[in-house]
Amino acid sequence: MVRTVSVTDKTIQVKVFPARLLQPETAEKLLNEIDRVKGVLRMLIGGKNLPRKITCGPGTGADVNHPDMRVIHVGDQAFELHVMVGHVIVEVEDESILEPLKQACERGLPFSFEFRRGFFIKKKATLTDYGKYGFRSRTDERINLDDERMLGMIDPHAKPEERFCIIGAEEES
């Protein structure tokens, strides 16, 4: 029997939108607080781009060296921030996680924030994803990905190793 396209479980997504753009220290603290909440599946960091080089004008090609482009540690992973963090989208297992998540945000942020529930990260593979990853086999039409949580986390054309990390993989295995 040909298997149909897999759909992830009914999860809940929340956008945490602080009143200010976050410095790396605050972003690190917030992300760690969120990471400690049991039932968090995915986090997506968004914000204002911090380029390595100037891309327009007479200074094109000069290094920017933005002081906020720093390596931060979240859980057991370290990665370099490419943005000044403006919001964090969090996906959790079910409604019971929302309150602990909100409390984690209150601990992590020294100022007010919006806590909006909505649909922010796609849960199903789209044509572009199939174009990139393909089917698992001739008889299995699920997308050819080991971990489907990757879907919607990065642009299909971007390199995942620069923009994607799996936290707590060692604990799971």
Partner: protein, 249 residues
């Protein structure tokens, strides 16, 4: 009785600040040396001569022209300076000036200006030495809070963004930043590093910025709280609609 320009209606602090900007009756808050200003503008090396695009007018032998006799050229035009620009970006979180008011200030109080007014930034082209005088006036006075405004020749992004945690406007190219309690700038307006750290003084506190701003905001002074301004704006729009679109009707 001598004529006194009225500039702008309204009884709120924002209307009063708008009148101040238009009339150039602005308070000087800081000193920026000519060399520092030249460095952050980035058009020529500090201390060097002004490059010229044509010989001084006195040497050119201008044709006889009644208009040329009446209109005194600006110092930059007289010397044959190049046309150069300065561009400011202002945060919508109560920055003291707005692009429109920077343009009004330039057009009313300076000559030989070519202001370009955009939603979040304002660029002005002038003869180089005239442009430096104009920029210095805006940079040293209450028209600019260097925490909430920036001199940005390119990558002006910041006007409509949330402020950073330290209360300053986001700058993608990190041209100026808060160090201690002062704003310093170590790149020119297009992001090329310069050989000095220019101290631009202390940023305004939130309360002071709210007092000096020309932005109407619901969380500070709401536009609709100023009945005279609302009436003025409605009158302008009504007349523009009635007569501006089809004056012969």
């Amino acid at each position: 009785m001598a004529y006194k320009p009225q500039y702008y209606p309204g009884n709120t602090s924002v209307a009063e600040n708008r009148r101040k900007h238009m009339s150039n009756n602005v308070e000087k808050l800081r000193d920026i040396s000519d060399e520092d200003l030249t460095a952050i503008l980035g058009h020529r090396a500090p201390g060097s001569d002004y490059p010229s695009t044509h010989p001084p007018l006195a040497e050119m032998g201008e044709p006889e022209c009644s208009v040329r006799e009446v209109v005194e050229p600006t110092p930059g035009a007289k010397a044959g300076d190049r046309i150069r620009y300065s561009q400011f970006s202002d945060s919508m979180y109560n920055a003291p000036s707005t692009p429109y008011w920077r343009s009004y200030h330039a057009a009313i109080n300076f000559r030989g200006v070519d202001p370009g007014t955009l939603s979040g930034r304002q660029v002005n082209e002038m003869r180089e030495r005239d442009m430096e005088a104009y920029t210095k006036r805006q940079a040293e006075t209450e028209m600019t809070d260097w925490g909430l405004s920036g001199l940005r020749g390119c990558t002006v992004h910041g006007h409509s963004l949330r402020l950073q945690e330290d209360g300053t406007m986001f700058d993608m190219l990190d041209r100026r930043r808060l160090e201690g309690d002062s704003i310093v700038m170590d790149k020119d307006q297009v992001g090329v590093p310069i050989d000095r750290k220019v101290n631009l003084g202390k940023p305004m506190s939130e309360a002071e910025a709210a007092k000096r701003t020309t932005f109407y905001r619901v969380d500070n002074v709401a536009f609709r709280s100023d009945a005279e301004v609302v009436e003025h704006v409605q009158t302008v729009w009504e007349r523009r609609t009635r007569y501006g679109f089809k004056p012969q009707a």
